[in-house]
């Protein structure tokens, strides 16, 4: 780990700086590399802690085993996760950015107080909401259904905050003024003009929420008892608990984990600049 003593390039030189950064990068990358290697080794190599050697590769076999385990339920989980995450994040991004835009462009009484309330919602732990949400879902018969997980993840107050900042930055007042001069209604202006300019912001909010939903574990655990509705996170959790008794699950958990990370890495690499704009917008302010 880097320590403040490493902040002395003059004494220790450039080399030391680069060593500290390099070691930190190794710390973050090696476990990920282990996952890749472990997922491509056969079970014997795995249990022999023999992951680091270059023998016993069987990635395709591992994949086949993964999708054969428990009648191929992993594929089902994967599709569920994609639907929860992509569908949920897309809808959530549109809803949040629209609200953030309204906060930015319209004036009304107690606006800042209301906005503060929205921001305060970021603070409230998921665990606080879980039991009441469960009881509400139980009361309406939604418990153990797709909707019980899908509806709560649409709520993203941080997305509203980002939406407001992006609206300030990307949608100049003059453009709206010009649209109004042309006689366009407020809503038409938003959907035809502003939303296009907010595009990158929507993508950013989408990405953040995609990760959040893909990560989500507590809510599905509370709401779902039917394995066929599980997202990957909860499925892997249940397999890992089986693995403590039946070790044949270990390779499936590892290969399944690697596969579950892939979509996020792809999204991250392809859409890197959107991540960064979200990070800076969120933190510098």
């Amino acid at each position: 780990m880097s320590t403040p003593t490493a902040l002395r390039p003059r004494l220790l030189g450039r080399a030391a700086v680069n060593v500290v950064v390099g070691v930190s990068v190794l710390y973050t990358l090696l476990p990920a590399l282990w996952l890749v290697l472990a997922a491509s080794k056969n079970a014997d190599a795995l249990f022999g802690s023999d992951v680091l050697s270059l023998r016993d590769f069987s990635p395709l076999e591992n994949l086949r085993d993964l999708f054969a385990m428990d009648k191929g339920i992993y594929g089902r989980w994967y599709v569920n996760s994609l639907v929860y995450a992509v569908g949920g994040a897309a809808l959530s991004a549109l809803v949040s950015v629209a609200c953030g835009y309204a906060f930015d462009k319209f004036r009304f009484r107690h606006k800042e107080k209301l906005f503060g309330l929205v921001l305060a919602a970021v603070m409230v732990p998921q665990t606080v909401l879980a039991l009441p949400l469960y009881l509400m879902a139980s009361g309406t018969g939604l418990v153990n259904t797709f909707w019980a997980v899908f509806i709560p993840v649409l709520f993203n107050p941080f997305g509203v905050y980002l939406g407001r900042i992006f609206s300030e930055g990307y949608v100049p007042g003059e453009v709206l003024e010009a649209a109004r001069m042309d006689g366009a209604g407020e809503l038409a202006t938003y959907f035809r003009v502003a939303l296009r300019m907010l595009g990158p912001g929507v993508v950013t909010v989408f990405l953040f929420q995609l990760t959040a939903i893909w990560n989500n574990f507590f809510l599905p655990m509370v709401m779902l008892s039917n394995q066929r509705l599980y997202p990957v996170s909860l499925g892997l959790y249940s397999w890992n608990s089986s693995a403590t008794v039946s070790p044949e699950y270990y390779p499936a958990v590892i290969t399944g984990s690697l596969l579950a990370v892939l979509p996020l890495i792809v999204a991250f690499v392809l859409l890197q600049r959107f991540w960064r704009s979200g990070l800076t917008a969120g933190a510098v302010k």
Binding site: S138, G141, V143, S225, V245
Partner: protein
């Protein structure tokens, strides 16, 4: 549009009736009053093997009550959560299966109905009194026992014979034997001290036998004294065995424990009567190697015993047909046909809570695995020793779980067994207080 009914609508009407009945049974536990002349439908949930066979036999035997059975996961695997959830949503089954330690919890939560007035005098007289005592609180009955499982000693007859070891009759002899085993045999230990996930029920059986009274409902309050004198004695006893490396302490289920038994590293198992049948199924290769004996006693002159395992049937609050549900339960626990049907699904050595049915079990049980030993005679004799008056607590799953966490830590060298017991009490009282129960606590 009035007119002659077409073929499709007639068909639909014909289908609608039974379907509506089935739906009603599934979604509301038969929650509507059926006035039609057809059979009464009731639903039944259980994780017990052979339940389908029992239900089929019941449905074949009469035509007034139609039981719809659903296999659910066992309690700890989500079965209890499922039952609670269903009860909350108002669609619990008419008949649910609940193990003894969880009966008070479900009774307090209002899931298990008060069935005192539905239990016939005949059934009452046939049930082992200690068994019915476990499901009766303040004079009210909340469920009906199916089996009662005295804890017995399962031991490796072959190893005992080979090394000239005598079956211990007292706990002192057991400890001595444990020392002999450690010193004379290379590797094996006398037994496992179970931690998670079921060490709590093992330990409870030991304490029950020793005269402990963890919970008491005198004076209209839950008096809790987990660390009473008998319990402290039991805890000290096992702590010494652990400290002296005379027993293996670890998980009671899973691969490791399984391989210990498979490889002969554990010479005895201390568990309920049912475990004789479970062992036969799990390890057919060890045929002829095991025998059963009474559990060691603290005082052979005044023998006592606790139970380990066993299930009961409750009628739930959502049932619209409690009488029919009770009729099915009574048949299930007391009819020889019901027990025969259950045993037809595979080996079982459960000891019925209606002791006169033991004859059916004896006849059905293949004695070859235990080299011809008549285990049911042993069970008869041991069941009589079960100490009356034991009461399980209102939140037993949680109490035992805190205790087991402590056991696991103790096994890893952190803390002691008695500390685990005290922690379990400390972690239980707030639960009871939050429910509004009247409580008193004894930490002697």
């Amino acid at each position: 549009m009035p007119g002659p009914p077409n073929r499709r609508s007639v068909l639909a009407a014909g289908l609608a009736l039974p379907l509506a009945g089935a739906l009603g049974a599934c979604t509301s536990g038969g929650g509507r009053s059926t006035t039609s002349a057809g059979p009464v439908r009731i639903t039944f949930w259980s994780a017990l093997r052979g339940s389908q066979e029992v239900v089929d036999a019941f449905n074949r035997g009469q035509n007034r009550i139609q039981v719809v059975f659903q296999q659910i996961p066992s309690g700890g695997q989500g079965g209890y959560a499922k039952l609670s959830n269903a009860a909350r949503a108002g669609n619990a089954p008419d008949v649910a299966t609940i193990e003894y330690p969880q009966v008070p919890g479900f009774a307090i939560d209002g899931v298990a109905r008060d069935i005192t007035d539905l239990v016939s005098e005949r059934l009452r007289n046939r049930l082992l009194p200690q068994a019915l005592g476990l499901t009766t609180f303040a004079g009210r009955v909340f469920s009906v026992p199916l089996d009662i499982e005295p804890m017995v000693l399962h031991y490796r007859r072959d190893v005992f014979d080979q090394h000239g070891l005598a079956v211990p009759r007292t706990w002192d002899e057991f400890a001595e034997l444990a020392r002999t085993v450690r010193d004379r045999l290379d590797g094996p230990r006398i037994c496992l001290f179970a931690t998670v996930p079921s060490g709590g029920t093992h330990f409870a059986a030991f304490c029950w036998q020793a005269g402990a009274q963890w919970f008491d409902t005198g004076d209209g309050a839950w008096n809790v004294s987990l660390a009473d004198a008998p319990t402290r004695r039991v805890a000290e006893y096992w702590q010494r065995l652990i400290n002296d490396d005379l027993v293996i302490s670890g998980p009671s289920e899973g691969r490791q424990n399984d391989s210990y038994i498979q490889q002969g590293r554990l010479l005895t198992r201390l568990s309920g009567a049912w475990d004789a049948g479970a062992q036969m199924k799990a390890r057919p290769g060890q045929k002829g190697l095991w025998a059963l004996a009474p559990l060691p006693q603290w005082d052979p002159a005044r023998p006592a015993l606790g139970t380990h395992g066993g299930s009961t049937f409750a009628v739930t609050k959502d049932s619209a047909h409690p009488e029919a549900a009770m009729e099915f339960i009574e048949w299930q626990v007391s009819s020889p046909d019901a027990l025969r049907a259950r045993l037809s699904s595979g080996t079982s050595s459960q000891y019925p809570a209606v002791p006169d049915l033991a004859e059916v079990g004896r006849a059905a049980f293949d004695r070859a695995y235990y080299a011809g030993q008549d285990i049911y005679t042993l069970f008869d004799q041991e069941a009589a020793k079960i100490r009356d008056g034991w009461i399980w607590g209102p939140r037993m799953t949680a109490t035992l779980s805190v205790m087991q966490d402590g056991f696991a830590r103790a096994a890893a060298g952190q803390g002691s067994l008695i500390e685990a017991v005290r922690a379990a009490q400390a972690g239980t009282m707030p639960d009871l207080a939050a429910l509004g129960l009247a409580t008193s606590e004894h930490t002697n």
